[in-house]
């Protein structure tokens, strides 16, 4: 969760081992499905009056309606059924639920990173803000923020605000902290000698910020944005849980949990994971574009 942890690079020579690990995980998943569903499948066959022979049970573990561990192909067929099999706007479409979650995530991410950047600029420039606010910002992160989710939703709901905004507020709360911390570090990155040079040019504080501190902070900014966007997705999904939201990936998880539809839970989880990976990838593309615009030779070379 630190900037080091957010490097999603796949240097050459890693493709094969990564493929190996992924294949091993898939194999382990099938094995887990076989073992996890064994008793259930055997019971079901025995109840149906069939002779419980090993091959039949093994086949049955892969095709149960409510398995303990759904097999990968079950999850992927549910995924394809609920994405391309139903109309996009339908309540049964995973794309619709993903869109509900994504829109709140993006709004919260925008709010949270704007707040985080503003706070970082204030902290770097005003000593009193740093002294009085910074300990509370750090303390705010030791609070399990997600516990606040129901309150924010109830309070904003009573004030007449429902739908997107309360979820976005929670997402923003989760994602401003990494941005603030990363930006404070980045804005303070220029050496004393560089700042002194700016002073000999008689640059104003605004100019030092725009020409020196801001460009120097960009690598840290993107590293923390990658963490922030993943955090805001988690925030949105959790914000959909405790309040009985009607739509969104979190609501889908909760509904699946109530009705014991395991396959549907796993499909929603995979959709959430794919969404998260896409969002982080998007920030990576923006980083590469920014690096190119600033004249760096390769993404990450600006560091």
């Amino acid at each position: 969760m630190t900037p080091e942890a957010a490097s999603f690079s796949f240097p050459r020579g890693r493709a094969l081992p990564v493929m190996g690990v992924v294949l091993a995980l898939l194999a382990a998943w099938y094995l887990a499905a076989l073992l996890g569903n064994w008793n259930g499948a055997a019971d079901a066959l025995a109840r149906a009056g069939a002779a419980p022979d090993t091959a039949k049970i093994a086949a049955a573990t892969m095709a149960q309606e409510r398995p303990v561990v759904p097999a990968p192909h079950q999850v992927f067929s549910e995924l394809s059924r609920s994405t391309v099999g139903v109309p996009l706007g339908s309540k049964r479409s995973l794309v619709y639920h993903a869109w509900v979650t994504l829109s709140a995530t993006l709004l919260g991410f925008a709010l949270g990173s704007a707040l985080g950047i503003a706070l970082a600029v204030a902290i770097v420039h005003l000593r009193s803000v740093e002294a009085s606010l910074m300990p509370w910002i750090v303390a705010s992160q030791t609070v399990p923020i997600l516990a606040v989710a129901p309150i924010v939703i109830v309070a904003l709901g009573a004030a007449g605000l429902t739908g997107l905004l309360p979820k976005a507020v929670i997402a923003a709360y989760l994602c401003f902290f990494p941005v603030t911390v990363g930006m404070v570090k980045g804005l303070n990155a220029p050496d004393r000698i560089q700042r002194d040079l700016m002073r000999t040019y008689s640059a104003s504080r605004g100019q030092v910020l725009a020409r020196l501190r801001w460009p120097a902070a960009l690598p840290d900014l993107f590293a923390s944005l990658k963490i922030a966007v993943a955090a805001s997705l988690v925030g949105t999904i959790v914000a959909e849980l405790p309040t009985g939201a009607q739509a969104g990936l979190g609501a889908r998880l909760l509904a699946g949990s109530y009705y014991g539809q395991t396959v549907r839970i796993w499909a929603a989880l995979i959709a959430a994971a794919a969404l998260s990976a896409l969002l982080v990838q998007g920030i990576g593309l923006a980083e590469a574009a920014a690096a190119r615009a600033m004249g760096a030779r390769a993404p990450g070379a600006a560091r």
């Binding site: 969760m1 630190t2 080091e4 942890a5 957010a6 490097s7 999603f8 690079s9 890693r14 094969l16 081992p17 990564v18 493929m19 190996g20 690990v21 995980l25 996890g36 000593r127 009193s128 740093e130 002294a131 009085s132 606010l133 300990p135 509370w136 030791t142 609070v143 399990p144 923020i145 997600l146 516990a147 129901p150 309150i151 109830v154 309070a155 009573a158 004030a159 963490i227 993943a230 997705l233 988690v234 999904i237 959790v238 849980l241 405790p242 309040t243 979190g250 998880l253 909760l254 699946g256 949990s257 395991t262 839970i265 929603a268 989880l269 959430a272 994971a273 998260s276 990976a277 982080v280």
Partner: protein, 321 residues
């Protein structure tokens, strides 16, 4: 300097006394719910005094270490006091209904009244769910990182996958864990274990890679084997990374345990209490739970930070602070 000292000596007590008077005055019969402009003017003055005092305090540079430590505590405490006072004054003075935002005083009263319930919730969520999950997740993360380091082929495949996995919304596996491990604390501990596993794996991987080539070569000239090098050189070098993961995981563990309770739980636990009390609109109880969670989270984080200070006293980031 004397000028500033005089200002601090005047403004700080004024802000504290004025704030306390404001918070008490807000409850007076004529004021509660229908405060006039005089009340708001007083609130504004208290805010101004506290801000100016905080600014002057922050600009001080005491010569002794104790003085600096006191100052580092005093400024945020003053700020926190100001927030509580203004919260109380605004909520009571403007008559905000308690279902929207209860004042701090009623939250404190509720906290004191509901101590047994809060204690039971704390035991269930923090001690039974979060702590075992945290221990299992961190230890297995460290173990797998060492394995991945020992066998580089495994590491090259595993670490990128772990990088991706640590950005996934892992807390979503809570319903699956409830299905596997039942409603009680083992399912919550399992969620916490999976959540804390990946940050530890990634950080420990980075920490084990942080040793310089020269130091490793030196160990080789001493004919030290892998285990010896690991114990005497590489784990100590990796300690700052490990503590980063431990601190990140300290907050993740509480979040995981609380959120997992939204998916079904016996009738005890902080997540359970928050969701039912929010549904019954008794927000003072919800805020009392949040205060408890904040206290527990801060204490947990503080303990880890103290351990870090004791264990990595040699590291520049600790020595400088």
């Amino acid at each position: 300097m004397t000028h500033r000292a005089a200002r601090i000596g005047l403004l700080t007590p004024a802000a504290l006394a004025g704030g306390a008077a404001l918070a008490i005055a807000a409850h007076r019969a004529g004021l509660a719910g229908e405060a006039g402009s005089g009340f708001w003017l007083a609130a504004f003055l208290v805010w101004l005094a506290a801000t100016l005092a905080a600014r002057d305090l922050a600009a001080l540079a005491p010569r002794t270490a104790t003085g600096r430590r006191i100052l580092r505590l005093a400024v945020p405490l003053l700020f926190g006091f100001l927030v509580l006072v203004l919260w109380e004054a605004v909520v009571v003075g403007a008559g905000v209904p308690a279902v929207l935002m209860p004042p701090p005083s009623s939250i404190a009263a509720r906290f004191a009244a509901a101590l047994p319930v809060l204690g039971a919730d704390f035991v269930q969520t923090c001690l039974k769910s979060a702590l075992p999950g945290y221990a299992v997740g961190c230890l297995s993360g460290l173990g797998v990182a060492i394995l991945a380091d020992r066998f580089p082929l495994l590491g090259r495949g595993l670490l990128p996958v772990a990088n991706v996995a640590s950005a996934l919304p892992i807390v979503g596996i809570a319903p699956i864990m409830v299905m596997w491990f039942g409603f009680d604390w083992p399912s919550k501990a399992a969620v916490v274990a999976v959540m804390t596993f990946f940050p530890m794996l990634v950080q420990a991987g980075a920490g084990l890679a942080a040793t310089g080539r020269i130091e490793r070569d030196l160990m080789r000239t001493y004919a030290a084997g892998y285990g010896r090098t690991l114990a005497s050189l590489r784990l100590p070098i990796a300690l700052p990374f490990l503590f980063t993961a431990l601190k990140v995981n300290a907050t993740l563990a509480l979040i995981g345990a609380i959120v997992a309770e939204f998916f079904g739980t016996p009738i005890v636990g902080m997540g359970f209490r928050i969701s039912i009390e929010a549904a019954r609109l008794s927000l003072d109880m919800v805020w009392a739970e949040i205060a408890l969670a904040a206290l527990a989270g801060s204490a947990f984080y503080g303990i880890i930070a103290l351990a870090e200070r004791a264990a990595t006293g040699w590291h520049p980031s600790v020595r400088a602070g």
